[in-house]
Symmetry: C2
Subunit: 336 residues, 2 copies
């Protein structure tokens, strides 16, 4: 220890303010200057004490991002953005895996870690609106995702109805007439899949096509295995689908696998689309058409909102809707 | 607050010890009993204060797992195991993303978070043996992965030379004669890819085949994009390969994509194998032959070792080698 920011400033030949900007991330610093400061830090063996300025304010400088599925790349990609955003604001982001379990979500909601973290970003899956409304803890909270709506907390989520309506309309525009939905959950108002099924239904109705429950395949979870199993089931129908919208990219990739094993051509016989735009879908064979939510914006807004709350922002909670876009790839007919 | 374990025991009609076992995970509890206790916890709104018993011992009950790539499913799958193992031992595992960056790894190594965590599991990528040997921090440390060998810390890693030798020998046994390696790093002794290339080379030599540097394709990183690019390069050779061993599953999946786009049949024209056994490879088209390290054992051992050190184990550091196995799938000719 014993190495101060001043030592680094002298070694790097820059001002103390510049070193502070590099170390604390308050303000952007030019790349060559940043490298010079970094070199001085490495040479002197300085260990940044990120939490000193937080501790002075009664904070730890730690925030948590609680996600339901560590092994779903969507959340890993989102966490990647959030970690960088938090670092830029001088906070360290920890990841918590709730595994979509009710007890885990409730424990976090009620502030079990309030002695450690300054605030929480939560993507609820197993708990509903009432649990969030009944929360007693004061720890700043930002919600992301589609689990819970209309609660007095900042909430960041894309318009899920519009997203699946857009994907379904794309399949309709290809001339498909038996469009299935893979990944239906229990019929529960608060679940995003309901919103996604609503968008799917709206697009069908708009196109003058029937909403046929036989083409809506329920799944236990939303992983690759679930999508594969549901697709296998759809292929056993007397009139199998000629297109599939999946709840997310993982279930879509499971569906692609079932189709490949059954010797069904994609997109010729069955077109497939997912939602999430995970990197895997850019490399699958065929590549996967999907709805790309603006993950960068979701991660950025969630962290910025939370930090603002931690630092005293008392404005009314806001519901922000980052944008999304349709990405056409091979699974719905595009050549790349 | 105000809800105690005793309140829960009364409500659930079980002993205090049973409640403690459920809450602290000291000992397994029968499922029906566990559910009864859980219900009482939910009804009473009890918030487990996991850290109370740690704080009495001057600990926080938090350990960190620092991984180089949050978006590499191998690490997400490993973290999933480690989080459960830690919970079973009464610890909360936090994930840190070093992004494979030297400064991040050094900061962690030197105990920047020692006021927060009781110990660290690190998978080093950018730092080498000397940096680890020069470490001054006393925070318990367990190393995983292939980055650094022969240091006085517990180290958990599979035998990487044997793993890639096994995969290469499998491709040799298929009758392939021009076997490429995708994912070569800079030639640096401490890098695992060197160990993996060594195993690849040993298998070739054993089969009486030449080690041809033209068939060893370097990559900047070890992601899907890197594998795709390297494979495209190999396909431009006068005599392209008839088989590929990739550094890991992600680069192998990139290679599969390049082969599909080029209209090259897998495994007929080119057989492909990876290392890691990530779930994605069980669903790719074709499915991916791979080396499956015992991830459960790696995660289990890393956490157990670390917790033992935190709780006073002073035995000499050990290097443990969990097992691995070859998983044959479609990309090397198996029919499933």
């Amino acid at each position: 220890m014993g190495v101060s920011l001043k030592d680094i400033a002298e070694r790097a030949g820059v001002s103390l303010a510049t070193v502070s900007n590099v170390v604390n991330g308050y303000r952007p610093v030019g790349e060559s200057t940043r490298q010079r400061v970094q070199q001085a830090i490495d040479e002197l063996g300085y260990t940044p004490n990120l939490s000193a300025r937080h501790l002075r304010r009664g904070r730890t400088g730690l925030i948590a991002l609680a996600i339901p599925e560590l092994t779903n790349p969507y959340f890993a990609e989102l966490a990647d953005v959030a970690i960088r955003e938090a670092a830029g604001l001088g906070y360290t982001l920890l990841m918590e895996n709730t595994a979509g379990e009710r007890t885990e979500e409730l424990t976090l909601l009620d502030g079990a870690q309030r002695h450690i973290i300054d605030g929480l970003i939560l993507s609820p899956v197993a708990i509903g609106r009432n649990e969030v409304l009944g929360r007693r803890a004061q720890l700043p909270l930002v919600l992301i995702g589609e689990g819970v709506y209309d609660v007095p907390y900042d909430h960041i989520a894309i318009d899920n109805v519009a997203a699946s309506r857009t994907a379904t309309a794309h399949l309709v525009a290809l001339g498909r007439r038996r469009i299935a939905f893979v990944g239906a959950p229990p019929w529960d108002d608060r679940q995003s899949a309901h919103l996604r099924i609503r968008g799917y239904r709206e697009a069908l109705v708009e196109a003058g096509m029937p909403f046929d429950l036989r083409l809506v395949a329920p799944t236990a979870q939303f992983g690759r295995t679930d999508g594969e199993r549901a697709m296998r089931h759809l292929l056993t129908l007397d009139e199998p689908p000629d297109a599939v919208l999946a709840y997310n990219d993982l279930t879509a990739i499971g569906a692609l696998r079932a189709l490949a094993r059954a010797g069904v051509r994609v997109p010729d016989d069955v077109a497939v689309a997912g939602i999430d735009d995970i990197e895997e879908g850019r490399f699958s064979n065929p590549t996967l058409t999907t709805i790309a939510p603006d993950k960068r914006e979701i991660g950025r807004l969630a962290v910025r909102r939370l930090v603002a709350r931690i630092e005293g922002d008392a404005r009314p909670p806001a519901h922000e809707q980052p944008t999304f876009r349709l990405v056409e790839r091979e699974s719905s007919g595009s050549t790349r």
